[in-house]
């Protein structure tokens, strides 16, 4: 029997959503200030309108629905699912007002792509976009990468227990520190440290390529947001190939790898415990899968005659693999060349790397290495059970921060999400085929890239793409970022509103 949510439940959800919108409104004030300084009056107007709407609605919700009721798991799931959706809708407002997008759906696509750190773009004429608008796109990746929910609530809310529910809902289930607010602040400390160091390194590298100091700083900051938060939005249409710089590519790869490390592993490194990193199931899974995929990329590229030098293999093939594994989406080639020039095997390996993605509890997307590792451990466990006598007790363990016994519910949860990702990728590919404009290699590549929040595009995503496909991709980005559970909880909540029995 499903109980219908009551007025108190709706009030609680509205209260926390209000806080999220308040935070988003404050985020919009940053590009608004930049627009005023740069005298980009149209952009400034758009951001002021957007920020005003967010702050007004957020403050009204906060005041109207104020409550001290504790959050339950269900509330947390619903709030997180709605936060990403409502956040994307409000984040799209200044984008649509800018005139850079063909229609509201395209603006929503871009906003969802930024907040989910996917990095697919449907903006018109990116190379001539005002700096405040371009900066806003990258800032959304930073906000989304660090978790809009955690950002707002660690700053505004009081009481760790309520934050804990939302933290786990947002597909980050690793407790780095016992106190969730301290965990959120540690995440920001790591991000802040890499922001200073990474931006400085990129600034110097861009100066050496001939950039003027102001342009170098602007590109460095945006490249940092796109790389460390594994977002993948680019400042220029040509993405990474615009810079023609090995040093920039190396620094960006360092930031992408740093971004794909889980915050638990960052914590281990900060405490001088690298053995914890090397023993971790995710590290080992990624090491094995990435090695296999890169071997396939090298073999495929050499066989197809695309590249024949070590430098080209490293700067194109290895960079693209790191971009795919980290789910960043930076491209060193024009999208279509992945299918037209790379042969068959190398793009297929990239698709596999995109599907797996990076580590859990990081900004990366994809199925996540931990689930692949657990699925593999489950397979080994089942094989051992078959081979050993019936009376034998089979125990399988893995290292995830500490030695952990593989349990049936853990194995089931991992394989269920893995299956959901695969089904979504296939559905997205089939929807793409319905329009008759693309073939299966194109739609499958793009669907995996969107559904895993990667962002490497072979050209299906564009300002002129079909609206139905755009809507499907928006849903896929949302599902992928939340790893399904929170979205299904929201759907269950909506169903129970309609069909549930009223509480006594």
């Amino acid at each position: 029997m499903i109980l219908r949510p009551g007025a108190d439940d709706i009030r609680l959800i509205g209260f926390y959503l209000g806080k999220v919108l308040l935070g988003l409104g404050l985020v919009m004030l940053i590009p608004a200030a930049i627009a005023l300084i740069a005298q980009e009056w149209n952009a400034a107007t758009s951001f002021v309108i957007g920020a005003s709407l967010c702050i007004t609605v957020g403050a009204a919700s906060d005041a109207r629905f104020h409550t001290r009721r504790p959050l339950t798991w269900a509330h947390g799931m619903v709030i997180v699912a709605l936060a990403w959706l409502v956040g994307a809708v409000f984040a799209a407002i200044p984008m649509y007002l800018s005139g850079r997008f063909t229609d509201p759906l395209a603006a929503l696509f871009e906003a969802m792509s930024g907040l989910t750190t996917t990095g697919m773009s449907v903006i018109n004429d990116l190379d001539h976009t005002p700096i405040s608008e371009d900066f806003y796109r990258h800032l959304l990746q930073f906000a989304g990468g660090q978790g809009i929910v955690i950002v707002v609530l660690s700053l505004f809310a009081a009481g760790g227990a309520r934050i804990a529910t939302l933290y786990a809902s947002e597909a980050r289930d690793e407790r780095v520190l016992p106190n969730f607010i301290r965990t959120a602040r540690f995440i920001f400390m790591v991000a802040g440290t890499f922001l200073v160091l990474g931006t400085s390194a990129l600034f110097v590298a861009l100066l050496t390529t001939g950039f003027t100091p102001d342009r170098a700083l602007y590109h460095a900051i945006n490249l940092f947001f796109a790389s460390f938060d594994t977002g993948g939005f680019s400042v220029m249409q040509a993405s990474m190939s615009y810079y023609h710089s090995l040093s920039v590519e190396l620094i960006v790869m360092v930031l992408m790898i740093a971004g794909t490390l889980s915050f638990g592993l960052h914590f281990a490194l900060w405490n001088g415990d690298p053995r914890n990193v090397l023993r971790h199931l995710e590290t080992r899974t990624l090491a094995v899968t990435s090695t296999i995929f890169f071997a396939a990329v090298c073999f495929g590229l050499l066989r197809a005659g695309t590249y024949d030098s070590v430098e080209a293999l490293f700067r194109k093939g290895f960079f693209t693999l790191v971009s795919a594994v980290s789910s960043t989406g930076h491209q060193v080639n024009v999208g279509e060349t992945y299918l037209s020039d790379w042969g068959v095997l190398a793009p297929a390996a990239i698709v596999g790397a995109m599907a797996i993605g990076g580590m859990a509890s990081s900004t990366s997307g994809g199925i996540k290495a931990i689930r692949i590792g657990i699925a593999f451990k489950t397979l080994l466990h089942d094989i051992k059970r078959i081979l050993l006598p019936e009376s034998a007790l089979v125990v399988t363990t893995y290292h995830a921060g500490r030695r952990t016994t593989l349990r049936d519910d853990t194995a089931r949860a991992a394989t269920t999400i893995l299956l959901l990702f695969l089904v979504t990728h296939l559905v997205g590919a089939m929807v793409g085929l319905l329009y008759g404009e693309f073939d299966i290699t194109q739609t499958l590549f793009e669907s995996v890239s969107v559904g895993s929040n990667i962002g490497i595009s072979i050209g299906v995503v564009s300002p002129e793409m079909p609206h139905g496909l755009m809507a499907v991709y928006i849903a896929m980005m949302w599902l992928g970022r939340l790893e399904y559970v929170a979205v299904f909880a929201l759907m269950g909540y909506v169903f129970s509103l309609a069909r549930g029995k009223a509480k006594a």
Partner: protein, 45 residues
């Protein structure tokens, strides 16, 4: 991880240690990529 480790070490030294180890990990990853590239070019080039 020992609780005393966090309290005794200033945050900037922890940050330097964390970033340094992350950089070392990245260099190891690059080395593997470079070696694999060399091996494949030698084998198939």
């Amino acid at each position: 991880m020992r609780a005393s480790t966090r309290r005794d070490v200033p945050w900037h030294r922890r940050a330097a240690r964390g970033v340094g180890l992350a950089l070392a990990l990245c260099l190891a990853v690059f080395a593997v990529g470079a070696v694999m590239s060399v091996l494949f070019v030698l084998a198939m080039g």
